[in-house]
């Protein structure tokens, strides 16, 4: 499968994504990009830059900060915003906890991943965003495989898989009622490999944790968890140093590492081509049950 042709990025995907972003800017009053600092949202930022060039990116970035992010991601986020002259809005899960809207999970699997949905929905309401652009891809997960490009959410941010609007040809219907909002997924049709090939073609900078580096990890349930003050560990779980990298960037309590020596994009792409574990296989938050993603989506997750 390591055929040379695989290294080529399908240009049709960029054209499609740019078309979608331009429609988003035109059809909505207050669209925003949901920015996590991960490779998919970095790709979205690049596409937005290209779609409106030489004009400015017409969307602010909204980052829902769990407080448990990798420091490298936050550093990168601030650098990107600065270098491209973007507007950044940050809302904190800690504030939702302090307001008593959500409760911190307990136990060794405690994570703020589920809590951020509440912070996100509050931010959407507060800032009156009518469209939120996300980097979700249909190939990531089977519930996401059914997502529309313009996905309507009700006042409670809920996704109703059975009530989705048909999307025909390239005609996007972004008409909504007051209080509703739309999640926009411009890279719906991209795969993980497409994203990496695009990052390589466009020569994009990405957070350093995507590349092989030495860090303290623990082993739990056959996965390597990054050791941090946010992770509740048992006595048997002794941290050790290991060369690893991350295939996705969530926060430090829900993203598992893979052992890897890949420190260049070429090597990462090579790894993916031969990968035996799918991308979301390294996401602890999906392992909770077979329908974990669908349930979170219905509740208004990204």
């Amino acid at each position: 499968m390591t055929n040379k042709i695989q290294w080529e990025f399908p240009q049709a995907l960029e054209d499609e994504a740019i078309y979608i972003l331009r429609e988003t800017a035109a059809q909505f009053e207050r669209p925003a990009i949901l920015f996590s600092g991960g490779k998919d949202s970095i790709t979205i930022v690049r596409l937005a830059q290209k779609a409106f060039y030489p004009g400015k990116v017409p969307f602010p970035l909204l980052h829902i900060d769990t407080g448990h992010n990798f420091p490298e991601t936050i550093q990168f986020r601030d650098w990107l915003v600065e270098s491209l002259g973007l507007d950044l809005i940050v809302r904190n899960v800690q504030d939702s906890i302090d307001q008593g809207k959500v409760q911190e999970e307990t136990g060794k699997y405690a994570s703020r991943n589920a809590l951020q949905t509440v912070t996100l929905l509050d931010a959407i309401e507060e800032l009156k965003f009518d469209a939120c652009i996300g980097g979700a891809r249909r190939d990531e997960e089977k519930a996401r495989a059914k997502e529309r490009i313009f996905s309507v959410r009700d006042e409670f941010g809920q996704w109703n898989a059975k009530m989705q609007r048909p999307e025909l040809f390239d005609m996007l219907n972004g008409k909504i009622h007051l209080g509703e909002n739309v999640r926009v997924f411009p890279i719906s049709n991209w795969t993980e490999l497409d994203v990496w090939n695009y990052i390589r073609r466009e020569n994009l900078q990405i957070p350093s944790i995507y590349f092989s580096h030495e860090r303290e990890i623990i082993e739990r349930d056959g996965m390597y968890w990054p050791y941090s003050p946010f992770l509740n560990t048992t006595e048997e779980e002794v941290p050790f140093r290991q060369k690893v990298r991350f295939r996705t960037v969530g926060d430090m309590t829900c993203t598992a590492a893979v052992i890897s020596e890949a420190d260049k994009l070429e090597d990462i792409i090579g790894e993916i081509l031969e990968a035996k574990i799918s991308e979301r296989g390294a996401r602890i938050d999906d392992k909770r049950s077979e329908a974990a993603m669908e349930k979170r989506k219905q509740a208004g997750y990204f």
Partner: protein, 415 residues
């Protein structure tokens, strides 16, 4: 690298999900952890084999009912190209999803259960593939293992299908019949040894060879303006670029264009793709065009060449597929969206409804409900710059939006 888009349709239980699972399996597209999840899920269901169909039946309700109820998109790549499959439901209530899945496809894959032969759904699928003018039609006669890989049975089904094709108004330029067993992978990726009487390509071999018909490039040139870019910065003080998508045909720097609806003319000064200047822009490309003159153009305008500009239609006759629970209400104002433009439109008359399973016109039926296909006449408040779907599909379709529910209630194909 090219992208080939395929739509699949079939009836309940004809093995469509298994076929897709098989394609993924045979192209090594199922990662180990998903494979393990499949083993576990199959075991829980009490199956003694790994049910590959579980891979695409994504939603909880579907897993419970064992049927596919929405369009799912599946991706895989071979060294030749990237494939996108729109897996659409085969049963009658969800025909709208079938049309949706088919709307972006270059290949329509129809499955027939070798034991059952052509059934009512087959007619429906074929009708939709024809209605949408999908250029490549692949008919897979599946479950050949259950008819002892019988050549006679296969030929019988092919013959029946040929009769169906003969009765259609549109004939796909390329039609291919393949005997397969998706459960055992016969003729899916690799050629079957069990079906020795068949000497043609396996399904994947055939898909790999499909040559891309760049017909859109030879169709009349159409460019839809999505937004006007005016940075008003020091460096781009006088810049006025038209960001949009080439719908069909192509545009070169220096070409004379006419902008609709203002009907003013100018010449293309530059075509830009981010920082890269281009000399030509082709169908489906997203670019920014600047013009020599300041002419009246804004979001929703369409550029074409002056010699073959589209007509400005105020009355449209079209085939429509109705997609909403609420029936079409003649005389009610809907929003007609053609490309990115929305105009108010009223249905003047329902000319007729077609029975898609017999291809017969139902003279007496004068209403269009969910999953019905028929012909209507519309009147629009502003002109629509559409071509007939037959001559230029990329500029010949529209959707209808209900102004109260905001739902997309129909898709139409201009006569």
């Amino acid at each position: 690298m090219e992208v080939l888009r395929i739509t699949t349709s079939g009836s309940v239980d004809d093995g469509k999900s298994t076929l897709i699972g098989r394609l993924l399996y045979d192209t090594h597209s199922i990662p180990q952890d998903k494979m393990e999840a499949l083993h576990a899920a199959s075991k829980r269901k009490g199956l003694d084999f790994t049910d590959l169909s579980l891979l695409t039946d994504g939603l909880v309700a579907e897993r419970e009912q064992g049927i596919t109820i929405d369009v799912a998109h599946i991706y895989f790549s071979t060294p030749t190209r990237k494939y996108i499959i729109a897996d659409t439901p085969g049963h009658i209530e969800y025909t709208r999803n079938m049309v949706t899945g088919a709307s972006n496809a270059q290949v329509s894959l129809i499955l027939i259960d070798a034991r059952k032969g052509i059934v009512e759904q087959t007619y429906r699928h074929f009708f939709i593939a024809s209605l949408l003018r999908i250029p490549y039609l692949v008919v897979c006669v599946n479950k050949m293992d259950l008819v002892e890989y019988s050549e006679a049975r296969f030929n019988q089904i092919v013959e029946e299908f040929q009769a169906l094709i003969a009765s259609a108004t549109f004939k796909a330029p390329s039609i291919k019949f393949i005997p397969i067993s998706s459960l055992y992978g016969e003729n899916v990726a690799a050629r079957s040894e069990k079906i020795s009487w068949y000497n043609g390509d396996s399904l994947l071999e055939y898909l790999e060879q499909i040559t891309f018909d760049h017909a859109d490039n030879s169709h009349p040139s159409r460019f839809k303006v999505q937004s006007v870019i005016r940075p008003k910065t020091e460096a781009y003080h006088d810049f006025r670029g038209f960001a949009g998508k080439v719908v069909s045909g192509h545009f070169n720097v220096g070409d004379e264009i006419i902008s609709l609806p203002s009907q003013q003319k100018s010449k293309i000064k530059t075509i830009e793709q981010f920082e890269t200047p281009l000399t030509t822009a082709e169908a489906r490309q997203s670019v920014v065009i600047t013009l020599e003159d300041e002419i009246d153009t804004s979001r929703g305008s369409m550029f074409s060449k002056p010699e073959n500009a589209p007509a400005l239609l105020r009355e449209i006759s079209a085939q429509v597929c109705w997609m909403d629970q609420q029936k079409l209400v003649p005389g009610k104002a809907y929003l007609l969206q053609h490309g990115i433009n929305r105009v108010k439109a009223k249905v003047q008359v329902i000319q007729y409804v077609i029975d898609v399973t017999s291809n017969k016109i139902l003279e007496d039926k004068k209403e269009l409900g969910l999953n019905d296909i028929g012909k209507i006449t519309l009147k629009t408040a502003q002109p629509v710059f559409a071509d007939s779907y037959d001559t230029n599909p990329a500029n010949g379709a529209f959707i209808l939006i209900d102004e109260f529910s905001n739902s997309t209630v129909a898709v139409g194909f201009v006569d």
